[in-house]
Symmetry: C2
Subunit: 442 residues, 2 copies
């Protein structure tokens, strides 16, 4: 039995890490009024290939014994949550209230070659705000704030949220007298991988720029700042354009609005352009300290036409967090929960005949929200304590018996402290109620 | 754009019903120490077809541009959560602590013809306890108790948990002198659809029973009782067998152990046999009042050989709730949440210039765990109230302004009551904090 490459699965204590992360994300999204949504796992191939870019990565889905004539409307697993959301919005436009905030946490599938941080099945957590016909700019600020707050509470290394705005690039290029700004972006976008002088050459050879225009484009791409310092830096390049002004002001508001979340550096970074055509303003990427090789683990932006049905267009702004891309490498490097079960308490068994007494204690604890299991067998107490230890359960409850002088007792097995306790009133400290991330020794 | 038949999707207020149900299930499962697990959506076709029964219903998965030679190890979407769990247990046996309690809430896929209560994509919620080599009987009682408690809190009509035990059937048939008890079960199992006299005929013609044996088998299948009354009723049929005794005692313990949960009738029902070969003791089915046509919405039992790797066997007991099978028809019949968003409060906008004041109020409320959104635009207050109403948001907050005599005010828009309030101390009643099931008028 060999594991399937690219389809990560977690052990229970690892899954608890993922649950802690997903619960935190959900909690932040819901505090901000984002509604939960799930779409079906499959779309028609036609729908998925509209974007045209990644047809090679799609997994098609067919009944095992489908005959040829049944396969006209071929289905495939969705490869992101944006395309299904756009389809869902169009399909249900008459029944949704706009502006519509939704979060969507689901598995997606891509037939990619598995490699570090790239999987064939992985979980994404998306938030988007979509409106009908027009979506005010303040929603860009909101999306950035909500995701920065969500990222802030994660048990992960320092994150850098890099933000830019397509209008700055397009306005700047236009202000430079470049006729086709869209030919410049894909070249500048390669700055991560290709040296600057080579980019300058390409801008001249492939996009027809003058040497001075090319060096201005590169100078723009070098600008980054933690606060609004980028505005003065761009102004210093001496290029004027109304769209540039608009982009600078938008980026300024987003960067200031998103700043302040612990563990998340918010940076205006004019190198960020995002490859995808459909972004029209704000764009986001996110890097994790020490894991830069994973690329961006949280990306998105503003798209003025998320969906359109001929009569109406639906502009949106959204951002997508690669939960698996983030967690699988961190878990491989030792990120783990303190237990493999939800249980905070193991109720010991004095003997099999008194199982009902132990079950009663467990019921009393559960009635007050304390996750509790009863020992599987009436082994010696030392073995029952080991049973709890192996699972990371912090407390063992000993029901009243001659061994405890007729009193109920509870033992914190991490420190070996044992005290009398009443099953109807005792509770563990709040921190011990649920699994939490284990402190790393390193 | 047409919806895909058999792939149900919820609107936001409907999804809130599903979330309430899933949260409740998870909470009960975790209170009882069941660990969360997810397995990948795909298995190899070989793995899935081991059970051999439903190969026609399997959806295979291939890369769109896979060449023939790449498709040797064909993948397919899982059609239940038991087969993947068995594979997971074998694959990770060395890293799991047994007995291992797990719950698994995931989508499954079947290429069935869509019909009422049958979908091509649907959500199941499974709990299982699996051990290595031996699993004590008290876990059967525990599984029944946990699922009865989980079912008890659901916003659904009266449920009947029907329990039987294969050992009763097999022991009884043996005690009657029937050589091949396994030929009898599939015929008796048709009692739901086929009249009793026809079953009696089939038992004689197909299973070689005498007329008296056949009538005894039918008499056994007629027995049902809320408590342990079934034991005396079986005894009265005068059949003796050690396995029958064991089965009667097991069923007695399970029925008594599971009883007492509000909204769930627990019944010993000797007609229940479950079609699947692998059950070896306790078996469960569940009917919902008024929705009997859906069949069993929650089924399972004891399987002495969930998995085996040659060296060890892994016996288990489990039960699977068909969340979609339950909810899709109930939602179609009007089951709905009181709101389409998680927000408990909408903070109104006095004007666009004071958006930051409204955002500040929202932050203060969120900091104390109150889901809050800020109005999209500074329309007249009446329109902002309508905005909240359409989403089912119960409270509208008016930031301090001349319109409120300089005080913060909050309005319960369901009753029109408006009072001064402090964003740092006010909270809604606990019941209004999260979406809940809407009271039905009918």
């Amino acid at each position: 039995m060999t594991k399937l490459s690219g389809f990560p699965e977690f052990l229970p204590a690892e899954r608890n890490v993922e649950l802690i992360v997903l619960d935190h994300l959900r909690s932040v999204f819901e505090l901000h009024g984002f509604a939960s949504l799930e779409t079906r796992a499959v779309e028609t191939v036609d729908q998925l290939l509209r974007k045209g870019e990644i047809d090679k990565e799609v997994y098609t889905v067919r009944r095992l014994h489908a005959t040829e004539d049944q396969s006209s409307d071929v289905l495939a697993l969705h490869f992101d949550l944006t395309v299904p959301f756009a389809r869902y919005v169009l399909e249900n436009a008459g029944k949704l209230e706009f502006p519509f905030r939704r979060y969507q946490i689901q598995k997606v599938w891509r037939g990619e070659r598995p490699q570090q941080g790239r999987f064939r099945e992985f979980t994404q957590a998306d938030i988007d705000i979509v409106a009908k016909d027009e979506l005010a700019f303040h929603f860009d600020v909101e999306i950035a704030q909500v995701m920065a707050e969500a990222l802030s509470g994660l048990p992960v290394p320092q994150l850098t949220l890099q933000i830019s705005n397509r209008k700055i690039l397009e306005g700047f290029y236009r202000g430079l007298g470049i006729a086709e700004p869209t030919t410049v972006m894909p070249i500048v976008d390669k700055l991560d991988k290709v040296p600057a002088d080579k980019i300058a050459e390409l801008l001249q050879s492939d996009a027809g720029l003058t040497s001075e225009q090319a060096s201005h484009c590169l100078a723009l791409a070098e600008i980054r700042s933690n606060g609004e310092g980028f505005v003065a830096a761009v102004r210093a390049l001496g290029v004027e354009d109304p769209m540039l002004d608009e982009g600078l002001e938008e980026l300024r508001q987003v960067v200031i609005g998103a700043a302040g979340a612990d563990g998340v550096d918010v940076v205006a970074d004019l190198r960020i352009a995002r490859g995808l055509d459909y972004y029209t303003g704000t764009v986001f990427e996110t890097r994790m300290a020490g894991y830069e090789h994973l690329g961006s683990i949280c990306s998105g932006g503003r798209y003025d036409q998320l969906a359109s049905d001929g009569r109406s267009t639906y502009p949106g702004v959204g951002i997508s967090l690669g939960v698996s891309r983030l967690l699988v490498p961190l878990i491989a490097d030792g990120l783990i929960a303190d237990r493999s079960v939800p249980s905070s308490v193991l109720v010991a068994l004095v003997d099999e005949e008194s199982r009902s007494a132990s079950v009663e204690v467990a019921s009393a604890l559960r009635a007050r929200g304390i996750p509790t299991e009863v020992a599987a067998t009436a082994q010696k107490f030392g073995k029952q304590i080991r049973y709890a230890e192996r699972r990371g359960i912090p407390y063992v409850w000993f029901p009243a018996s001659p061994q405890t002088d007729g009193a109920h007792q509870v033992r914190d097995i991490r420190v070996g402290e044992q005290n009398d306790a009443d099953p109807n009133t005792w509770a563990p400290p709040a921190d011990d109620l649920k699994p939490r991330i284990k402190e790393q020794n390193t």
